[in-house]
Every structure is written in C-alpha cells, then in structure tokens.
Symmetry: C2
C-alpha cells in the first residue's frame, strides 16, 4: 500500500534502492509526512552498526570509507554511506571529486551512498544526516558509515550519532598539539594515520600515542593505526579494530547506553523544534521586526525584547 | 556602587582590567546575575569594531591576531581579544602554545586577551564568546578580535558575530577545492595566505583567486593577501584591507544590517534558552528517564514521547 508520502514502506524494508533514495529525500527536504514516516520506521531501526569517519579536509576520509565498504561487501554485509559534505554556495551541490572516487562502490548493488550538502546550515544537517542513517538502518543495512568533513561541532555530532568513531589524520595534519586543539582527541575511538608512506608519518604516530598516554582510562584504550588508503593498505586492520571496539561496547553494555543517550538527544531536539515552531508565529515575527529598530538605537535591549515576546507567548497559552 | 554580581559597572566602562576579567568570568560561568548584567551594559555596546580571524588549525591565526593587536596599539587604539580555543579534556584548559606566543601583547596594558575553552560544548561557547565580545565592547575597546580554531559551525558563528571576517590559510591547507568544501569561501570577507614563503604559496593564491572569480558579486569583492606573520610581513596590508571593508560596510548601510541580524539572532537564542529551561523541569526530566526504556525496546518512538512531553507542557501552561 502506498502511503501519502509516496514511500512504499514494505519496499524500504526490502532494501529497494529507489525507495531508499526517495525516503532519504523525504527526510532531507523535510517534506510533509517526514515526521510520520520516521515515526513509522522507528521500530525497525537499531540493528545496523554505525561507524563515523571524520577528520580534517584532505585526509582521505572518502577513500577509507570506500575501502571499508568494499571490505564489508566481501563479507556479504549490506552497507549504507551518508557523506556529509559542506559545500560552497558557488557550486550549490556536492563536489565532483568525491563522487568520482566513490564510483567503484557505487556500482555495487549492496552499497547505498548518499551525499548530503550543508548549504550553510550545519546544525540542521547533522539532524538530517542522523535521520538518513535511520532510513538506511530500517532498509536493512548491516553497516552504516557516516563520513563528515570538518573540525568542530560537526565531528561532535558524528561522534554522538556513531557507535564507533574513527578519526583520520595525515602526517601533514600538523603536530599533535594542533590535533588536540581541534578536539579530535576526545571523540576518537581510534585514529588512522593515512598516507603513512609520506614523510613524518612515524613521528605523527608517536606524537598521537604520546598524547593518548596522558589519557587516564579504565576501559577502551584508543590506538593509532597506519594506512595507505589509496592502495588499500590498512583496511583489514581498520575493520578489525572496529570489530574489537564493537565487541567491547557490547560486553560492557556501552552500546545500549550510547543508543539511549542518542534517543534522549533526539527527543530533546524534537521538543526544541516543536517549541520553536509554536513560538515563532507570523505575529511574533512581525513583533520582533517592528521592535528591533528601537534596539538599534539602544532604547531597549535584546533581553527586554525576548522577555516581551515570551510574556506574549505565555499569555497566548492561557487563552 | 558594587552590584550583587560583584562587577563594578563604572570601573568596567573605564576599562579596568580586573573588572573586565571578572565580568567575562561572570558571563562565561553563567553565574547568577549574568543576564541582568548583560542587559545593563547593552546600551554601551555597538561602538567597538569586531574582527573575526578563522581558518584551519596551525594556519597561524594567533600570530596574525597578535600582530594586528600590536599594529592597532601603535595607533593608540584599545584592543580586546577573545580566543575561542577548543581543548581536549586531557588538559582541561587552554594550551600553553598560544599563551606563550601571545606574551608580548599580553604585557601591554592596552590589550585585553581572554581565552575561552570549549570543554565539549562548542554551541554554548559561541554564545558566551559573543557575550564576552559585548563586555569588551562596553569596556571601551575600539577593536575586538575574535579568533577561532576549527572548520565548521564555529566559523559560521564567528562570521555572524564579526563585522569583518578574515580567513587564514597556508600553502599546506590543501588545494582550493578542499577549502571550498570546508565552507570557508562563503564566510571570508578576504583571505590571508600565511607562511607565504613556503613552497606552493603562489599556486595556492592563484587557486583561491580562481574560485573567487566564480562568485558573482555586485559589491564587495573578496581578495587574497599574502603574509609571513612570524616576521610581521603583511600585517599593515591586512589592517588596510579590514579598514577598506569597514568603509564599504558603512557606506552601503551593511554594518547596520549586520548588527540588526546579530541582534535578531541573539533574541531568538534567548527565547530558545528560556523555553528550554521552562520546559525541562525536574518532573519532565524524570518523565523522559522513566519512558526511555520502553523506547529502547521499540515499544514506543521518540516522536510519541516528545509529543507526550509537549502535551504535558501545554497542559501545565493552562493551569
């Protein structure tokens, strides 16, 4: 039976590619029915294992994602990839570079790849990417890889959404202090030093290990693996380390705790979204516009105006 | 007269260093009275010019900030610096590296520097950094420089909070496509290619310029300057370009438009904060905790639970 959002749910559960693509578009465009759709598929999520691949631009994240996908396919596992790709408004879409590099896995029926571009709203993007991951999960993918470019909030979001987070660095990524500053140390379940045939690779590995030694740990200890992803060197070791981390999480009950925290965060976001939409009616937007001029002339303050708007909201709730 | 938040506002307006430091701590720690304090100083803000310095880790942002501060000091301008410094939980504070490098300006009474560490919450950090900027503005700083590490949401936030945004790159930052992917092209009022004595500098400048040519513009055209900040080369040119951009913004009425957009954003944030605090009472947090287990067993969905919580909130508003 075809639902009003034009996604055949049964076909989605069977993993039909066109249906999966359509379902992600529904979510990405926040089309009517998206929320109802996500609600309906929710009970089918939670089976796929979520891997986050992150690190600075140019580190080779796409290549490693590609190689990992090939590796899992040889084990007959179904793979979904969500590549979060902040792009320039000059081009208005995902860049050719990564697309080309992904071609060999794209031809494989067992791999579904979706690039999601930011168009300036990274915050909303991470939410949509997480929802796309749910769609892939419900469609029966065993492994879902989330790949993000960037250093900052987007990594933290990936780390929150992933079961295992892999941080990819290259010898040129700068010394270890820079890596620490970028906040990558705190989210990595392990590191991959890619392009390990380049100068400075050994030193980079040593620096990262030295810093990791400072981290007190009574459980999982992050490690540093070397790879030359262009040549496929290091892929089995990365997959093995992911499997080890997964086994650790499962034995310790950490996987359930991570999923619980993820659900709580999702609920908090849903609440915030609903409250925001309820609040910013056309009337209240107009009120903001008309009052902002007196703010510009320092005759009022943002704090007064926010309070005025909130008082109006509370009054409305009472009527 | 000393207020209850222990910040002597008159001393703040006189630029007293200890008072400024205390006021920023008040804001950073979200201590009691912080909001009232920000409300009180608001009418004294809007005079300082806000410069954002951003770019990938290791590009030399601190050094350029340092040099610019020295340059403005020679013109007898008062300078405030907010360095947003995402750090690792391993160290629990700002890293030594930058602190040392900043020493020569730190000794200068006319420069006030504050490092703000993220401790895992970049979102809240950009808000606090923006409030610290207001404090510096109210304290009479003519120029306020906001420096951030990272590629992603934090840059967008800096760009929103700054009047002029300078993006610092180095020849090793990767090819121009990587820079575009990092979203830096869309926020830069101009670029600085630092470490311009290194191999690949000319090519990097050309690549950025080529991409900038694609950008249709009927006003300000972003440019690429070269610098060797360690040796102070390029600093006057950067300051001159900032002054040109400022003049452009003022002539076009863009400065007022930027400040208006900033105030609107601030009000939206204040509203969202207030609603969040109103919503997440102890009772509702307990409700979330008690219901989340049935979610874990797929007997409910995040959408149902969010709705249940919101219904409860609406009911409470009616009583």
């Amino acid at each position: 039976m075809l639902r009003k959002w034009e996604v055949d749910i049964e076909k989605l559960y069977e993993g039909n590619r066109i249906t999966v693509a359509r379902a992600i578009s529904l979510v990405e465009n926040e089309a009517e029915g998206a929320k109802g759709f996500l609600k309906e598929i929710f009970p089918r999520t939670g089976r796929g294992y979520r891997i986050g691949i992150t690190g600075p631009p140019g580190a080779g994240k796409s290549t490693i994602t590609n190689r990992l996908a090939q590796f899992y396919r040889k084990q007959n596992l179904e793979v979904g990839i969500v590549a979060v790709d902040p792009t320039s408004p000059f081009t208005g879409g995902a860049l050719l570079g990564d697309r080309v590099r992904m071609t060999d896995v794209e031809m494989d029926e067992g791999v579904f790849i979706r690039s999601m571009a930011s168009r300036g709203s990274l915050g909303g993007l991470s939410k949509k990417a997480s929802e796309a991951t749910d769609v892939l999960d419900a469609s029966g993918k065993d492994i879902i890889i989330m790949e993000t470019v960037g250093v900052g909030q987007s990594e933290l979001d990936v780390a929150r959404a992933a079961d295992t987070t892999v941080v990819v660095l290259v010898p040129e990524s700068g010394d270890s202090i820079q890596a620490m500053k970028a906040g990558l140390m705190e989210i990595a379940d392990f590191f991959v030093l890619n392009k390990a045939d380049r100068a400075g690779a050994e030193q980079a590995v040593m620096s990262i290990k030295m810093i990791l030694n400072f981290k007190k740990s009574d459980g999982w200890v992050p490690d540093v693996l070397k790879a030359i992803a262009n040549e496929g060197i290091g892929t089995p070791e990365i997959a093995k380390k992911i499997a080890e981390h997964r086994a650790y999480l499962e034995q310790q009950g950490e996987l359930a705790r991570k999923r619980k925290a993820r659900l709580e965060e999702r609920i908090r976001e849903l609440v915030a979204d609903t409250l925001r939409i309820d609040f910013w009616t056309g009337e209240r937007k107009a009120m903001l516009s008309s009052r902002i001029e007196s703010l510009m002339q320092n005759r009022s303050t943002p704090y007064d105006l926010a309070q005025e708007l909130i008082d109006d909201f509370r009054k409305q709730q009472l009527t």
